[in-house]
Amino acid sequence: AQSVTQLDSHVSVSEGTPVLLRCNYSSSYSPSLFWYVQHPNKRLQLLLKYTSAATLVKGINGFEAEFKKSETSFHLTKPSAHMSDAAEYFCVVSDRRNDMRFGAGTRLTVKP
Protein backbone atom coordinates (compact mmCIF):
# COMPACT_ATOMS: atom_id res chain seq x y z
CA ALA A 1 0.00 0.00 0.00
CA GLN A 2 1.05 3.56 -0.54
CA SER A 3 2.42 5.67 2.30
CA VAL A 4 3.73 9.10 3.10
CA THR A 5 6.52 10.30 5.39
CA GLN A 6 6.63 13.91 6.48
CA LEU A 7 10.19 14.46 7.54
CA ASP A 8 9.58 17.23 10.09
CA SER A 9 6.93 17.20 12.78
CA HIS A 10 7.48 20.90 13.49
CA VAL A 11 8.95 23.73 11.43
CA SER A 12 9.48 27.23 12.75
CA VAL A 13 10.25 30.21 10.50
CA SER A 14 10.27 33.96 10.81
CA GLU A 15 7.71 36.02 8.97
CA GLY A 16 8.98 36.92 5.50
CA THR A 17 11.42 33.99 5.24
CA PRO A 18 10.99 30.93 3.01
CA VAL A 19 9.02 27.87 4.03
CA LEU A 20 10.01 24.29 3.22
CA LEU A 21 7.89 21.35 4.38
CA ARG A 22 9.28 18.00 3.31
CA CYS A 23 7.34 14.95 2.13
CA ASN A 24 8.48 11.60 0.77
CA TYR A 25 6.07 9.05 -0.59
CA SER A 26 5.95 5.37 -1.41
CA SER A 27 3.64 3.94 -4.04
CA SER A 28 3.61 0.95 -6.37
CA TYR A 29 1.77 2.97 -8.98
CA SER A 30 2.01 6.44 -10.39
CA PRO A 31 0.45 8.33 -7.50
CA SER A 32 -1.62 11.42 -7.02
CA LEU A 33 -0.21 13.69 -4.33
CA PHE A 34 -1.83 16.44 -2.33
CA TRP A 35 -1.06 18.96 0.37
CA TYR A 36 -3.83 19.87 2.81
CA VAL A 37 -3.80 22.52 5.52
CA GLN A 38 -5.62 22.46 8.85
CA HIS A 39 -6.03 25.73 10.71
CA PRO A 40 -7.31 25.56 14.30
CA ASN A 41 -11.06 24.99 14.39
CA LYS A 42 -11.27 25.06 10.60
CA ARG A 43 -11.95 22.31 8.09
CA LEU A 44 -9.11 20.65 6.23
CA GLN A 45 -8.50 22.56 3.01
CA LEU A 46 -6.72 21.57 -0.18
CA LEU A 47 -3.60 23.62 -0.90
CA LEU A 48 -2.55 21.93 -4.12
CA LYS A 49 -2.50 18.62 -5.97
CA TYR A 50 -0.37 16.67 -8.42
CA THR A 51 -2.14 14.21 -10.73
CA SER A 52 0.49 13.36 -13.39
CA ALA A 53 0.41 16.64 -15.30
CA ALA A 54 3.03 19.35 -14.67
CA THR A 55 5.57 18.38 -12.01
CA LEU A 56 5.66 21.89 -10.53
CA VAL A 57 2.29 22.55 -8.99
CA LYS A 58 1.06 25.92 -7.80
CA GLY A 59 -1.56 26.18 -5.09
CA ILE A 60 -3.40 28.73 -3.06
CA ASN A 61 -1.82 31.43 -0.89
CA GLY A 62 1.52 31.37 -2.74
CA PHE A 63 2.38 27.75 -1.99
CA GLU A 64 3.86 25.41 -4.55
CA ALA A 65 5.26 21.88 -4.65
CA GLU A 66 7.46 19.92 -7.02
CA PHE A 67 6.93 16.26 -7.81
CA LYS A 68 10.29 14.49 -8.11
CA LYS A 69 9.84 10.87 -9.09
CA SER A 70 13.55 10.03 -8.84
CA GLU A 71 13.58 11.21 -5.22
CA THR A 72 10.00 10.10 -4.42
CA SER A 73 9.46 13.54 -2.94
CA PHE A 74 6.76 16.21 -3.01
CA HIS A 75 8.08 19.07 -0.89
CA LEU A 76 5.93 22.13 -0.19
CA THR A 77 7.48 25.58 -0.46
CA LYS A 78 6.55 29.23 -0.13
CA PRO A 79 8.96 32.11 -0.79
CA SER A 80 7.82 34.29 2.09
CA ALA A 81 5.95 33.15 5.19
CA HIS A 82 3.01 35.09 6.55
CA MET A 83 1.64 34.92 10.07
CA SER A 84 -1.58 33.48 8.68
CA ASP A 85 0.36 30.44 7.35
CA ALA A 86 0.72 29.05 10.88
CA ALA A 87 -1.19 25.75 10.79
CA GLU A 88 -0.82 21.97 10.47
CA TYR A 89 0.10 20.73 6.99
CA PHE A 90 -0.54 17.23 5.67
CA CYS A 91 0.97 15.49 2.68
CA VAL A 92 -1.40 12.93 1.14
CA VAL A 93 -0.82 10.13 -1.38
CA SER A 94 -3.48 8.35 -3.40
CA ASP A 95 -2.96 5.46 -5.78
CA ARG A 96 -5.25 3.89 -8.39
CA ARG A 97 -7.78 2.86 -5.72
CA ASN A 98 -8.15 6.52 -4.67
CA ASP A 99 -7.81 5.63 -0.99
CA MET A 100 -6.05 8.73 0.32
CA ARG A 101 -3.33 8.15 2.92
CA PHE A 102 -2.13 11.01 5.11
CA GLY A 103 1.26 11.74 6.56
CA ALA A 104 1.67 12.47 10.27
CA GLY A 105 1.59 16.20 9.67
CA THR A 106 3.97 19.14 10.05
CA ARG A 107 3.11 21.96 12.38
CA LEU A 108 4.28 25.29 10.97
CA THR A 109 4.98 28.11 13.39
CA VAL A 110 5.60 31.63 12.06
CA LYS A 111 7.42 34.05 14.33
CA PRO A 112 6.95 37.81 14.01
Binding site: S32, R97, D99, M100, R101, F102, G105
Partner: protein, 116 residues
Protein backbone atom coordinates in the same frame (compact mmCIF):
# COMPACT_ATOMS: atom_id res chain seq x y z
CA UNK B 1 -23.76 24.83 0.00
CA UNK B 2 -23.73 22.50 2.99
CA UNK B 3 -20.91 20.33 1.61
CA UNK B 4 -20.03 17.53 4.06
CA UNK B 5 -21.99 17.52 7.30
CA UNK B 6 -21.08 15.42 10.34
CA UNK B 7 -23.16 14.86 13.44
CA UNK B 8 -22.69 15.04 16.34
CA UNK B 9 -19.82 17.49 16.89
CA UNK B 10 -19.02 16.17 20.35
CA UNK B 11 -19.89 12.98 22.19
CA UNK B 12 -18.87 11.22 25.37
CA UNK B 13 -19.41 7.46 25.46
CA UNK B 14 -18.97 4.93 28.20
CA UNK B 15 -16.90 1.83 27.57
CA UNK B 16 -18.99 -0.82 25.84
CA UNK B 17 -21.62 1.56 24.51
CA UNK B 18 -22.33 1.84 20.82
CA UNK B 19 -23.02 4.80 18.59
CA UNK B 20 -23.23 5.92 14.98
CA UNK B 21 -21.42 8.91 13.59
CA UNK B 22 -23.43 10.41 10.79
CA UNK B 23 -22.00 11.86 7.59
CA UNK B 24 -23.89 13.26 4.64
CA UNK B 25 -22.79 15.14 1.54
CA UNK B 26 -24.81 17.07 -0.99
CA UNK B 27 -22.26 17.27 -3.83
CA UNK B 28 -23.17 13.96 -5.51
CA UNK B 29 -19.67 12.66 -4.84
CA UNK B 30 -19.09 8.97 -5.42
CA UNK B 31 -16.17 8.56 -2.99
CA UNK B 32 -16.57 8.92 0.76
CA UNK B 33 -14.06 8.39 3.55
CA UNK B 34 -13.82 8.10 7.32
CA UNK B 35 -10.64 9.10 9.12
CA UNK B 36 -9.56 9.39 12.71
CA UNK B 37 -7.04 11.95 13.88
CA UNK B 38 -4.88 11.45 16.93
CA UNK B 39 -2.21 13.93 18.11
CA UNK B 40 1.04 13.57 16.17
CA UNK B 41 -0.36 10.74 14.05
CA UNK B 42 -2.02 12.56 11.20
CA UNK B 43 -5.24 11.17 9.80
CA UNK B 44 -5.67 7.41 9.57
CA UNK B 45 -8.12 5.95 7.05
CA UNK B 46 -10.75 3.76 8.71
CA UNK B 47 -13.05 2.87 5.81
CA UNK B 48 -13.87 4.27 2.43
CA UNK B 49 -16.52 3.80 -0.23
CA UNK B 50 -16.36 4.16 -4.00
CA UNK B 51 -20.12 4.32 -4.40
CA UNK B 52 -23.43 3.20 -2.98
CA UNK B 53 -23.26 -0.42 -1.84
CA UNK B 54 -19.46 -0.63 -1.99
CA UNK B 55 -17.14 -0.22 0.99
CA UNK B 56 -13.55 -1.17 1.70
CA UNK B 57 -11.25 -1.25 4.70
CA UNK B 58 -8.59 1.35 5.25
CA UNK B 59 -5.61 1.34 7.59
CA UNK B 60 -7.41 1.01 10.94
CA UNK B 61 -10.83 -0.65 10.45
CA UNK B 62 -10.95 -2.78 13.61
CA UNK B 63 -13.77 -1.84 15.97
CA UNK B 64 -15.73 0.02 13.29
CA UNK B 65 -18.35 -0.75 10.68
CA UNK B 66 -19.76 1.24 7.79
CA UNK B 67 -22.54 1.05 5.25
CA UNK B 68 -23.33 3.04 2.11
CA UNK B 69 -26.94 2.57 1.11
CA UNK B 70 -27.20 5.94 -0.64
CA UNK B 71 -24.79 8.25 -2.45
CA UNK B 72 -25.31 10.96 0.16
CA UNK B 73 -24.82 9.09 3.45
CA UNK B 74 -21.90 7.18 4.93
CA UNK B 75 -22.45 6.40 8.63
CA UNK B 76 -19.69 5.01 10.85
CA UNK B 77 -20.71 2.56 13.56
CA UNK B 78 -18.84 1.86 16.79
CA UNK B 79 -20.26 -1.30 18.35
CA UNK B 80 -18.37 -1.67 21.64
CA UNK B 81 -16.65 1.59 22.44
CA UNK B 82 -13.15 1.36 23.91
CA UNK B 83 -10.86 4.10 25.30
CA UNK B 84 -8.57 3.55 22.29
CA UNK B 85 -11.34 4.95 20.11
CA UNK B 86 -11.11 8.34 21.76
CA UNK B 87 -10.23 10.55 18.81
CA UNK B 88 -11.43 13.18 16.38
CA UNK B 89 -13.26 11.65 13.44
CA UNK B 90 -13.45 13.22 10.00
CA UNK B 91 -15.66 12.33 7.10
CA UNK B 92 -14.72 13.38 3.57
CA UNK B 93 -16.02 13.04 0.04
CA UNK B 94 -14.59 13.40 -3.44
CA UNK B 95 -15.44 12.75 -7.05
CA UNK B 96 -13.64 10.41 -9.42
CA UNK B 97 -15.00 9.67 -12.86
CA UNK B 98 -14.65 6.12 -14.11
CA UNK B 99 -12.14 5.31 -11.39
CA UNK B 100 -9.67 7.91 -12.58
CA UNK B 101 -7.59 10.08 -10.35
CA UNK B 102 -9.25 11.76 -7.44
CA UNK B 103 -10.11 15.38 -7.48
CA UNK B 104 -10.19 17.47 -4.32
CA UNK B 105 -11.62 15.89 -1.17
CA UNK B 106 -13.98 17.95 0.97
CA UNK B 107 -14.01 17.40 4.71
CA UNK B 108 -16.57 17.68 7.43
CA UNK B 109 -15.92 19.72 10.56
CA UNK B 110 -15.12 16.67 12.65
CA UNK B 111 -16.62 14.77 15.59
CA UNK B 112 -14.72 14.77 18.86
CA UNK B 113 -15.39 11.47 20.62
CA UNK B 114 -14.30 10.61 24.15
CA UNK B 115 -14.71 7.10 25.55
CA UNK B 116 -14.54 6.88 29.35
Amino acid sequence: NAGVTQTPKFRILKIGQSMTLQCTQDMNHNYMYWYRQDPGMGLKLIYYSVGAGITDKGEVPNGYNVSRSTTEDFPLRLELAAPSQTSVYFCASSYSRDGRRNTEAFFGQGTRLTVV
